[in-house]
Symmetry: C2
Subunit: 342 residues, 2 copies
């Protein structure tokens, strides 16, 4: 069966083309009898709207895109779920694109999305420099909301969790636990979250002093990268080896935990670990993981709301920047009798 179009439906129902369109879009403006005839024709022919034509006419599509750094990262999957709720409620469709922390792929996705004239884009950009591609979208009138990236830019909305504060919370906690040699493990620093969390940790240390913060960078935010990072840390001579590590996210932390455990060392006695994101698996880890919790689904919901608002308000929209507060969840991986450590 070839795809029937609106014209065939019209012929079949003995009405004009515009009437069919009215049945579809403003059913109450057409007489009940006619409407029924059209509906019958529709179901008889198995007619399905052609969205391309619709979009062409409308000038934009009804889909909203979210571009995440990593589809397999539980942080983002929860953000996606939050955004999904809101977007679907509004009768639109959410499509998920994966940049894989690769700015070339990000660019390709954005180009494609622009060609598709999507209704709007939620994005956690890969870098934190200027973003010509995003600006291009905005120029074209496509609303963009930055997710988990608090840019002060006035040209777009953003939702974020205060990563600097999160870094502070984690660091304060480790200092409270009496650690003096602490490592920050994460990367690449081109990812804003990685840099901000580190900045918070460094600031906390500046305020209180009396400890050492070593930075070890990873090439990505994955379990495997965490394992490799841990190898490096553990290879240090005992006097330099940190007694605690603050990881840029939970995947890294789980990697560290795996590596440490594999070598027969104990957590937190030999190495205390604090992660970030408090993903579902953090509590189920070999040693339950301390972590900085973020309101992930809410982040997604709020982002989607801002986007839809902007999309419908048009010119008179005022950009907003929403910042949520993170919260430290202390579990076994960093919790031990208070004493000074050397």
């Amino acid at each position: 069966m070839a795809a029937a179009n609106i014209k065939e439906v019209a012929r079949h129902a003995g009405v004009s083309l515009g009437t069919v369109s009215n049945v579809l879009n403003r059913p109450d403006t057409v007489a009940p009898a006619t409407r029924q005839r059209v509906l019958d024709a529709i179901s008889e022919l198995g007619y399905v709207r052609n969205d391309s034509a619709r979009q062409l006419r409308a000038g934009h599509s009804r889909t909203v895109a979210i571009v995440v750094l990593d589809v397999a990262n539980p942080f983002f999957t929860d953000v996606v779920r939050g955004a999904e709720q809101v977007v679907e409620e509004a009768g639109a469709m959410l499509v998920v694109c994966n940049s894989g922390e690769d700015s070339a792929r990000e660019r390709r996705h954005l180009d494609l999305l622009e060609e598709q004239r999507v209704r709007g884009v939620l994005i956690t950009p890969v870098g934190h420099g200027p973003q010509p591609n995003l600006d291009k979208l905005i120029d074209r009138g496509i609303p963009v909301v930055l997710v988990d990236r608090g840019s002060g830019r006035a040209s777009r909305c953003s939702v974020a969790v205060d990563d600097v504060l999160g870094g502070r919370l984690a660091m304060d906690h480790l200092l409270d636990q009496g650690h003096h040699r602490i490592a920050y493990l994460g990367g690449p620093f081109s990812i804003a979250q990685v840099a901000d969390r580190h900045a918070g940790a460094a600031a906390a240390l500046d305020d209180r002093g009396g400890a050492d913060l070593r930075v070890a960078t990873t090439s990505s935010l994955t379990v495997a990268a965490g394992r490799r990072g841990a190898e490096d840390l553990l290879a240090l001579p005992a006097r330099q080896r940190p007694t605690a590590v603050f990881c840029a996210n939970d995947l890294i932390a789980l990697g560290v935990l795996q590596e440490v455990t594999a070598r027969g060392l104990r957590v937190p006695a030999d190495l205390a670990i604090v992660g970030y994101d408090d993903i579902e698996f953090a509590g189920a880890a070999a040693v339950p993981l301390s972590s900085v919790r973020q309101p992930r689904e809410q982040l997604g919901r709020t982002a989607a709301q801002l986007l839809l608002e902007e999309a419908s308000a048009g010119e008179k929209h005022r950009h907003r920047h929403v910042v949520f507060q993170p919260e430290l969840v202390v579990r076994r991986s960093s919790d031990q009798p208070r004493r000074t450590r050397r």
Copy 2:
């Protein structure tokens, strides 16, 4: 800047509309000098192709959709990554839709995708009854590939892992370990994987005898559902309580592990656990989880390949059904000195 269209570009470059189109689609058919003039006009005006118009003309889009049961499930995220590779290589775009194990949402997604005339659909359907929506897509000529669902249906391709075999492997292993009271935890049974894995386990038991298989159903395949399922199992009187549990997936298994640990019981001594999927977190769990491993990314890759093949081969395409073999990975959660248990 309003979106410039092909006509303006043509005027700007002093050529006709068709020539611009040729520059875009068949650059070698237009004289170098003209081509350059057009390209200059394009970049000067910031012209971006309008994909809706393109699609309208072409009759179909260049996007491929994948509809998964749960975006937050690591199994699917890996399948998505595999499919992504192949689809992007082919210059198309993969969009991810989440049915959330809800057939109403699945239906809405499929309707929307049909309206969009997507190039093809990869899907793990919610139920395993007849699927009128899928048939509708196929009637319309949109290729559909079933993922992780080995339907013998001749009308579509499929890729799957032999879940019955996986269930056997798990069960055989537990029997080898000397367990006599075993539970199968998972649900809903309307999900084919849940039913098949159970069938495999039951078949293995039939073959060997000498043990009891209790089925406990959950409402979904999540960590939370696993915890609730474990509560029920642990509430049984000691004589009936199973000594081992085979879980329909790793999320369930992690939930069980959490609940068991929270009550101060030991794994595997008090309760052995075998999961399914071997997700990245399984090895990092409190007690490293035994699990049935599936070639997840490859599943995605193969599915995408079949889809693209069908999309381009058209009529003369022969449907294929690819089945991969799972593999049991034994870790601490089910590994213990062999002895008979009562």
